[in-house]
């Protein structure tokens, strides 16, 4: 308990003094995970809507793949992204390994199926007759999609939270494709692993507390957006 208490105090000290390294790591974590989440929304929401609203041969297999992807182990993602980005790999010429971009790519691969899967669920929980009603009211195809997204905004925001939560907390992929380089690719999770390995438990606890606070702040903001104006 004393160790945890010391870790808490260290977290307060680091935040109060505005420790430059911790600030840089926190800001980078937010940027990379935020960017990966944003990209996963851009790809996952349209894909999820397409899967939910259309019928095509092989749709069942696609849905099963998406659902499997929702539980992708980050280390597996990290391994395959590393193989692809190695100098001798198919995408080695991009020279992205051990860069922040590599972390974004890996985190995007982790978050996209989560967002897609939850978007499918969000769309499928809408009354199927609502689509007909909106068309009957004169909605064009784009107006229809926008209105359906608006109707499903609560579960869609849950998809955003789940996607962000999935990547801000992962360590395996970031470690493997980012390399945990100080000042370049070190994020809160990889820094926590490093400090734990070095035996600096109070510092590791402090970093993990900051990580939790960051995750809480983002989710609190999203929850506020989700729940505003709603009565029980």
């Amino acid at each position: 308990m004393e160790l945890i208490w010391r870790g808490m105090l260290e977290a307060i000290r680091l935040m109060a003094t505005g420790d430059p390294e911790v600030l840089q790591i926190t800001w980078l974590s937010l940027q990379l995970s935020g960017g990966a989440t944003l990209l996963s929304l851009l790809a996952g929401i349209p894909a999820g809507m397409a899967f939910a609203l259309t019928r095509f041969p092989g749709r069942g297999v696609c849905l099963a793949l998406v659902n499997t992807g929702m539980g992708l182990p980050p280390v597996v993602v990290g391994l395959f992204v590393s193989i692809f980005l190695w100098r001798s790999g198919p995408l080695g010429f991009l020279q992205l390994l051990y860069t922040p971009a590599a972390i974004v790519i890996a985190q995007f691969i982790i978050a996209a199926p989560i967002v897609t899967g939850l978007t499918i669920a969000a769309m499928q929980q809408l009354n199927p007759r609502l689509r007909l009603q909106l068309l009957a009211l004169g909605a064009s195809r784009w107006q229809l999609l926008w209105l359906l997204m608006r109707e499903a905004r609560l579960p869609l925001l849950a998809a955003v939270m789940a996607g962000f939560g999935g990547v801000i907390s992962e360590v395996g992929a970031s470690m493997m494709v980012g390399g945990n380089l100080q000042g370049q690719t070190r994020v809160l999770t990889t820094a926590t692993v490093l400090e734990t390995g070095k035996g600096n438990f109070d510092h590791a606890i402090a970093l993990s507390v900051i990580l939790l606070l960051l995750a809480f702040s983002v989710n609190y903001l999203l929850t506020w957006i989700q729940q505003r104006g709603r009565t029980p």
Partner: protein, 363 residues
């Protein structure tokens, strides 16, 4: 006759190879309310979706103002925007009542002032102005359906499509809304296609009535024609003819036919030849019952069938009385008459009806 605003020609819809709709021709005339009635699964809603351009038929053509509608073409949306639909469920969006009523206008990119004016007008006309800022999901069933109707009327559609809009409401709310809708449709002169399984709703609203069964339209006509002169036994049963007796025309004199039914002689006005086999249709409200021991003077009714009360069931303020006259005959009597006549199982009675109350269907 008014020109049709909407026509369906040779419409056919197949689901998994099975025909669910086969309508050679249907038209909705400008300014009329065409009620489509039929039992559940008759294909009424499918027909409404096809005519409302919400579902393409497997084959056939829908014409709007004489021009065929191209499915998937650019004009489809433009044509669909002449229509508005109200379904059994209100299907409101998760926003305020006001925003819901404005939705159709906003989709058409109507000017802000016009939206505000129309929304306020229709909220008031539907009696929900006080609910304008309420969240739609907090409305009761009746309020939500008023909102859905306001949303449809606010568009000022050339054709209003109503798919059993009152089916999920309790009887008092339904009655109230039906009366309001009747007034609004007459005031607006809205061309309306109204689908229902409820005969009374169709009678109250419809200028013409189409009876659908098994994906086909069996009869179209003004209410008195459809309800008074059904073309088949199925239609007769659906429109409330409870006594349908097989018989044969045995005599004809000056337009008055005599039909032999199970040993009874029934006189009817109609067209049939002697020897023709027919179905004798009697509506329960056209039959009069008196006790057999009651003395009566001369009367104009041509038919008097003697029988005994078999059973009686209360239906609202009336009793549905089944009388065994050889073949069973069903009559409706008020509760007061039922009590005055002291009817009970086995009471000997005489059932009286005019020859003009008899409708004959050739078989």
């Amino acid at each position: 006759m008014t020109a049709p605003i909407l026509e369906g020609l040779d419409l056919r819809v197949l689901y998994a190879g099975r025909p669910v709709l086969e309508v050679p021709r249907i038209e909705v005339r400008a300014g009329e309310i065409l009620a489509i009635i039929g039992p559940n699964g008759a294909g009424k809603s499918t027909l409404l979706r096809v005519l409302g351009l919400l579902e393409p038929p497997t084959s056939g053509v829908v014409r709007f103002r004489g021009a065929p509608v191209a499915w998937g073409g650019d004009d489809l949306l433009a044509t669909r925007r002449h229509f508005a639909s109200v379904f059994q469920e209100p299907l409101l969006c998760d926003t305020t009542v006001e925003a819901n009523v404005a939705l159709g206008l906003r989709l058409r990119r109507a000017a802000s002032e016009a939206v505000t004016t129309q929304v306020q007008t229709w909220l008031a006309r539907l009696g929900i102005a006080h609910l304008a800022q309420r969240e739609a999901r907090s409305l009761s069933g009746g309020e939500a359906q008023r909102c859905s109707l306001a949303r449809a009327f606010a568009i000022h559609p050339n054709l209003l499509l109503l798919d059993e809009p009152f089916a999920a409401l309790d009887p008092p709310t339904k009655d109230e809304l039906l009366t309001l809708l009747q007034v609004l449709l007459r005031q607006e002169g809205s061309t309306t296609l109204f689908v229902t399984h409820d005969r009374d709703e169709a009678l109250r609203l419809g200028d013409r009535i189409a009876v659908m069964m098994g994906g086909r339209i069996h009869q179209v006509g003004v209410p008195s024609e459809v309800f008074g002169r059904p073309v088949s036994e199925e239609v007769a049963r659906f429109v409330g003819v409870e006594t349908i007796l097989p018989g044969r025309v045995v005599a004809e004199q000056a337009g008055l036919l005599t039909v032999e039914v199970d040993g009874m002689k029934i006189e009817a006005l109609g067209r049939a030849t002697v020897g023709e086999r027919v179905l004798v249709c009697l509506r329960p409200e056209d039959l009069v019952i008196r006790r057999r021991d009651e003395r009566v003077g001369l009367e104009s009714a041509r038919n008097h069938l003697e029988g005994q009360v078999e059973d009686a069931t209360p239906v609202g303020a009336q009793y549905r009385v089944r009388i065994a006259c050889g073949s069973p005959v069903v009559a409706l009597v008020t509760k007061q008459s039922f009590d005055d006549l002291a009817l009970e199982r086995g009471t000997p009675v005489v059932v009286t009806f005019k020859a003009s109350a008899v409708h004959l269907i050739p078989r």
